[in-house]
């Protein structure tokens, strides 16, 4: 390799990537330029559709068949690899540039042991025997700090947790000592504590081995902690590039400012998330959402125009003496083969109160949400709603209960929780027809329109089917459907986990407003502690199916009493926090 002195390891110049779709050519990356020096860690942040992943796949030339580089140059180690042949690329892949992907379990071959897969990665570039490959794979598993590496060598991906799969993926990516590691959302979908350990591992390994890294993420906190330089991308272009501290403390570009504002931090309040809403930026905020363009001025602006800034003031605490709406006593959920998903859990929610349920995946929080919503039956324990025991009625028959309309749920995945054959109107009207036996007519139409309006869904979108709506719009349909029967308890199961931060900000504000207007009680299930802190007066921390700690959110977040809650809180990344290196 002829690498001139001072030349960056990777230099991208005016890169354009075009996809041919049914609606014609779409330019996903429009003139992106940046460079990475040897050993440097560069963050590329942006929301979905900003072109950050496409840029990464263009660099490694792993684009889908429909995408191609339509302009610009990619130089790696002084060589132009924009038009490299597949033979040349195969030599580069793994040995010089390697990638780590989102969804680590899917990124591994399900029917091959992880040891074999790591050995495959080594043997692709080095002529070694299978025995040596196995030995080297073991060394790599030790390097990525997997527990019991000898046992894991013969494990299949489905036998490992998501975090462990990502470690295996990292082991494969560093197997042939590449100079550049591209990590595409490496910790999205992992728990906060796992996210921290995986990112710390990546930072350590790249530092030890002198590897450069491009960290692609939607999480500004992650980028600010682990990167030396950050590029912000919007709609296929780099809009700002700076060091993380200056970028997040004094963002220059309007988009960066909005992104920074929308990212929940340790001190932000719901109202802070989109502070310039209402002065025209809101339409901008919804731009990526609204397929039809500028028609939808969000409805929520009106009521949140002058939000009270004081935290204590904003939290509409239920008056003392408010009756309990939901009381859960000694709830247990056992599955076959002795798996205990929920173990002796008790908590209560007052009318109009908002309770957060946090914990890592597998801690039983989603099971609780389904138990309380009476979608599944508890093995033991009582669920009292408004003083009535609802746990005794089988989940199968609960839809006939008059209380069904009082307990509604918003699911995590806005797409999968809508019937693809129902348009938005029918989705929202469904519970009205089924639970309130409303007949088609003016009353139903009016009620649906009202709910849609309250959820900030423009009425012209009611005719559309789920696949014609954006993620944020689908989330609004799900919320409109949930509030259609005017429930008293709304269960929110990770309602914003699949959404971009700017959309999340808007949805959270919407939920907070609905709650205060209707005196709605919320059971807010989330893995995002910052969001829970903002949304809920009280918080329950769960681990392994049991409650570890519960209390007033402000107190709990300020001074957690248990080790586990402390670990969880420490793993949360904050903007402008100290960088890892």
């Amino acid at each position: 390799m002829t690498m001139a002195e001072g030349e960056p390891l990777l230099a991208i110049e005016d890169l354009h990537v075009t996809f041919s779709t049914r609606r014609g050519l779409v330019e996903a990356v429009r003139g992106v330029s940046f460079s990475v020096a040897a050993g440097e860690t560069l963050g590329v942040v942006g929301e979905s559709g900003s072109g950050k992943s496409v840029t990464a796949f263009a660099v490694t030339r792993l684009l889908d068949a429909s995408g191609r580089i339509s302009g610009g140059r990619i130089r790696f180690g002084g060589e132009d690899i924009t038009k490299a042949s597949s033979k040349q690329l195969q030599r580069l892949h793994g040995a010089a540039i390697s990638m780590i992907f989102q969804n680590p379990r899917g990124a591994l071959n399900p029917i091959r042991t992880v040891g074999q897969q790591i050995a495959d990665a080594i043997m692709a570039h080095e002529p070694i025997s299978a025995g040596e490959g196995r030995a080297r794979a073991l060394d790599l598993l030790k390097a990525v700090l997997i527990r019991d590496p000898d046992k894991r060598l013969d494990a299949y991906p489905h036998e490992l947790s998501g975090g462990m799969c990502q470690r295996v993926m990292i082991a494969m990516a560093i197997a042939c000592a590449p100079k550049l590691l591209i990590a595409d959302e490496p910790t999205t979908g992992l728990d906060v504590t796992t996210q921290k350990t995986v990112m710390d591992l990546l930072a350590r390994i790249t530092a030890e081995r002198g590897m450069a890294m491009i960290l692609i993420t939607h999480d500004l906190g992650l980028a600010s902690r682990y990167c030396q330089r950050v590029c912000v991308m919007e709609q296929g272009q780099v809009v700002e590039e700076a060091q993380p501290l200056s970028l997040f403390s004094a963002p220059q570009h309007a988009y960066t400012r909005r992104l920074v504002a929308a990212s929940p931090t340790a001190t932000s309040t719901i109202a802070d998330l989109a502070p310039d809403a209402g002065d025209g930026a809101s339409r901008h905020c919804e731009r990526s959402e609204a397929i039809q363009g500028t028609s939808s001025e969000p409805v929520w602006i009106a009521s949140s125009a002058a939000p009270p800034r004081n935290d204590e003031e904003r939290r509409a605490k239920p008056m003392p003496g408010t009756p309990l709406l939901l009381e859960v006593q000694n709830l247990v959920k056992r599955y076959d083969r002795g798996v205990v998903a929920v173990n002796d859990v008790s908590f209560s929610i007052k009318a109009g109160e908002s309770l957060g349920l946090v914990g890592e995946s597998g801690c039983g929080k989603s099971t609780i949400s389904r138990l309380v919503c009476r979608l599944i039956d508890a093995s033991e324990g009582e669920i009292l709603f408004d003083g009535q025991a609802i746990g005794t009625l089988p989940a199968r028959d609960f839809h006939r209960s008059p209380l069904r309309k009082d307990i509604q749920i918003v699911f995590q995945d806005p797409t999968d929780s809508l019937n693809p054959r129902f348009n938005a109107f029918d989705c929202i009207a469904h519970p009205l027809r089924r639970l309130l036996s409303m007949k088609d007519g003016a009353a139903l139409t009016a009620r649906v329109s009202e709910c849609a309006e309250r959820a900030g869904l423009p009425s012209e979108l009611l005719e559309r089917f789920p696949h014609q709506l954006s993620g944020g719009q689908k989330a609004r349909v799900g919320i409109a459907r949930a509030i259609a029967c005017r429930p008293r308890l709304l269960i929110l199961d990770e309602p914003t986990a699949a959404l971009d931060v700017s959309v999340q900000a808007v949805i959270l504000q919407l939920l907070d407003r609905l709650r205060r207007e209707d005196d709605l009680a919320l059971l807010f299930v989330s893995h995002d502690l910052n969001v829970v802190r903002m949304m809920c007066e009280r918080t329950v921390v769960m681990q392994n199916g049991a409650i570890v700690e519960q209390g007033e959110s402000l107190a709990l977040f300020a001074a957690p009493q248990t080790d586990y809650a402390r670990t969880l809180l420490e793993a949360v990344l904050h903007l402008g926090g100290p960088t890892a290196r």
């Binding site: 490694t60 792993l62 597949s86 690329l89 195969q90 030599r91 580069l92 892949h93 793994g94 040995a95 390697s98 990638m99 992907f101 969804n103 899917g106 990124a107 591994l108 071959n109 399900p110 029917i111 091959r112 495959d120 990665a121 692709a124 570039h125 299949y156 489905h158 036998e159 993926m169 494969m172 990516a173 197997a175 042939c176």
Partner: protein, 343 residues
């Protein structure tokens, strides 16, 4: 090890749970044969002039004068003791007839399935690798052709081309030509028995007899196998783990075979099991066209002669084979896919 033991446990459970179905098949065929028109006693009387007494005697001899439930009980008892009854057309015990004829059908079906798989998988892989190209369209055309030409037509066409016009194929009658003496009976599979006896000339004769009927049957099932291979291959080529393999610079052959194809073969395995069972039962046309002494043509002849016992025996045999094939597929699937053992 635990992997194999869970697979064995699942296979055992699956076998046990299929026994009631087998029993159901038994009862159903028994009843079906009793309600079909045609009186076997009349059919087997010595001639049109047979008197009432003679028919009555045959009926008594066959137990047809007893009430149906009692007939069923006796039938079940017989089957329990391994007695499937006696064929009235061949005069042999049905069990012996099936035993002598089943290997012929199995040999033909296995060979046809092997040919079909060896053709369909490469075709499907090629079509998936070059999606939308000429190869893809050619494969689609071949598949359409294979499905829409009935087996007796394609069989006759093959005979016409390779026996009558070109003269390379042997006389399409039976498993070996009349000049070859059959090998000592070991398995009943001629190719194996000839090989065991070391008679390679006879092996060649049996193989050449087998080629045309086997291809005829294979043609018919290439289509579903090739289409499922293509679809599964497209899915696994587009999967994240194939992208991972590419991103690590694995050689293209390794990516396609070890990563994409091995995953794509899982659905093909399932379909192959279904196809095999279907072929075994549905190859009656091929057996007829090629005068192949298999179980399907035997059952058809018996059915036409209102000969109950062979038909019942055949249906029971097919049901058992279906169970065994499903079991085999299940075990193979458990070995091929480590995820199956986890529920």
């Amino acid at each position: 090890m635990s992997h194999l033991s869970t697979t064995a446990k699942r296979a055992g459970w699956r076998f046990a749970s299929s026994l009631p179905a087998l029993f159901g098949v038994l009862v159903f065929t028994f009843l079906l044969m009793r309600v079909l028109p045609g009186d076997p006693a009349v059919f087997f009387a010595s001639g049109p002039s047979a008197g009432k007494e003679e028919i009555e005697m045959i009926r008594k001899q066959m137990g047809l004068d007893k009430p149906v439930p009692e007939q069923l009980l006796r039938y079940l008892g017989d089957i329990g003791s391994g007695n499937l009854g006696r064929s009235l057309t061949t005069g042999q015990p049905v069990l012996a007839d099936l035993k002598s004829r089943l290997p012929a059908s199995l040999e033909l079906t296995f060979t046809a399935l092997l040919i079909a798989l060896l053709t369909a998988i490469p075709l499907g892989v090629a079509a998936a690798l070059r999606q939308g190209s000429g190869i893809d369209h050619l494969v689609r055309f071949i598949c359409a052709l294979g499905v829409c030409v009935p087996t007796f037509v394609s069989g006759l066409l093959l005979i016409y081309a390779f026996y009558y016009l070109l003269g390379i194929a042997p006389d399409p009658t039976g498993r070996v030509d009349i000049f070859t003496s059959p090998p000592p009976l070991v398995t009943g599979f001629l190719l194996i028995d000839f090989a065991v006896a070391g008679d390679w000339e006879g092996w060649g004769a049996a193989a050449s007899q087998l080629v045309l009927p086997a291809f005829t049957m294979a043609l018919f099932v290439v289509a579903p196998l090739a289409r499922i291979t293509r679809a599964a291959m497209l899915a696994s080529l587009g999967s994240d783990f194939v992208r991972t393999a590419r991103s690590l610079g694995l050689p293209p052959a390794k990516v396609v075979v070890t990563y994409a194809l091995r995953n794509a073969l899982l659905p093909v395995l399932t379909i192959a099991g279904i196809v095999f069972s279907t072929m075994l039962g549905a190859n009656v046309l091929v057996e007829k066209v090629f005068s192949w002494p298999g179980v399907a043509s035997y059952a058809l002849d018996a059915l036409l002669a209102s000969d109950y016992a062979p038909v019942q025996g055949f249906v029971l045999l097919m049901a058992s084979i279906f169970v065994v094939v499903n079991l085999t597929v299940d075990v193979l699937y458990g070995i091929a896919d480590p995820r199956v053992s986890v529920e």
